[in-house]
Symmetry: C2
DNA sequence: TATTGTTATACTCTATAACTATA
DNA sequence: TATAGTTATAGAGTATAACAATA
């Protein structure tokens, strides 16, 4: 059996098939997301924080007293999912349930611990370097374009 | 304690914090990806196929004889990850390891089973409707823009 | 030595469903 | 009834590490 007769798809077949899938907008977004997460993890894995976890820490620091359902809405995840994430971060001593009581005791205001603040500071350095990598690929105009396009999808589509 | 004194971040605080996170390109892409996956799952969950699984079926159908490492490269996942995905799909009787032997016996050519073909046909209908939803949000020019922008990220960044 | 595939292990993210407590 | 949070359960996707078989 000659090389060309191997029961494997040729590079041309594969390129054609990829082109078909690339007709789907979500496919592009998914691959880009995969790559960007992989880059972050590969280069900043020593932080032991995912981008999602950093986003939560960030929001809690900027909005001390924020409650879980608000975080869930902002990050587009379910209530139960956010509960699990918060449990993980409180378990690691980065987030604390605030002792101060509001009027509605169903609300559990959150804040960063001292360690949470310190860890987020480290994370910001990593994020800056990660963003520098992104900026090598995109001009400011392109980044604004991506922001606007992606927002069209996630701002309304509830 | 008056309403305004509740230990909760205000809407303005939250908007400001979101704006900070939105300075990060990856944040937009991640949220858009979350929403698009959620829409697909919510509306076509009865298929019991994820978008990633459909992508694999699609590539195997278009490229009969394709092997795992090629699929892994095309979908930007690790060899071990693809192995797990293929095991799942073969376990469900949608993908078959082809009996025909190539020269290199390390290569295991894949193809769809009859059921795999049938299931993918169904999935294509779901995908078409999903894409229609996407197209309500984006013009053709915008979709081309997204494709080009996302490709810049995943084509080179290896 | 390099490639292909597998297995073991572990973790994150996600969902649904059912529950408690509170309003 | 509705809201906030939790728990239990399940499954997909991802990673690393080690291994076997083959080239």
């Amino acid at each position: 059996m000659a090389e060309g007769d191997l029961p494997r798809a040729s590079a041309a077949d594969r390129a054609r098939a990829m082109a078909e899938l690339q007709g789907l907008t979500g496919f592009h977004i998914s691959l880009a997301n995969t790559m960007i997460k992989a880059h972050f993890h590969k280069n900043f894995g020593r932080l032991a924080l995912t981008q999602k976890q950093i986003a939560i820490l960030w929001l809690v620091q900027s909005c001390p007293g924020i409650i879980q359902v608000e975080l869930a809405r902002m990050l587009r995840v379910k209530r139960a999912t956010m509960s699990a994430m918060i449990r993980l971060l409180t378990g690691r001593g980065l987030v604390a349930r605030r002792a101060l009581g509001g009027i509605d005791s169903r609300h559990v205001p959150l804040q960063l611990t001292r360690e949470g603040d310190a860890v987020l500071d480290e994370a910001r350095v990593a994020i800056d370097r990660h963003e520098a990598w992104v900026k090598q690929r995109y001009s400011q105009a392109e980044r604004r374009m991506i922001a606007a396009l992606m927002q069209k999808l996630y701002e309304d589509a509830g």
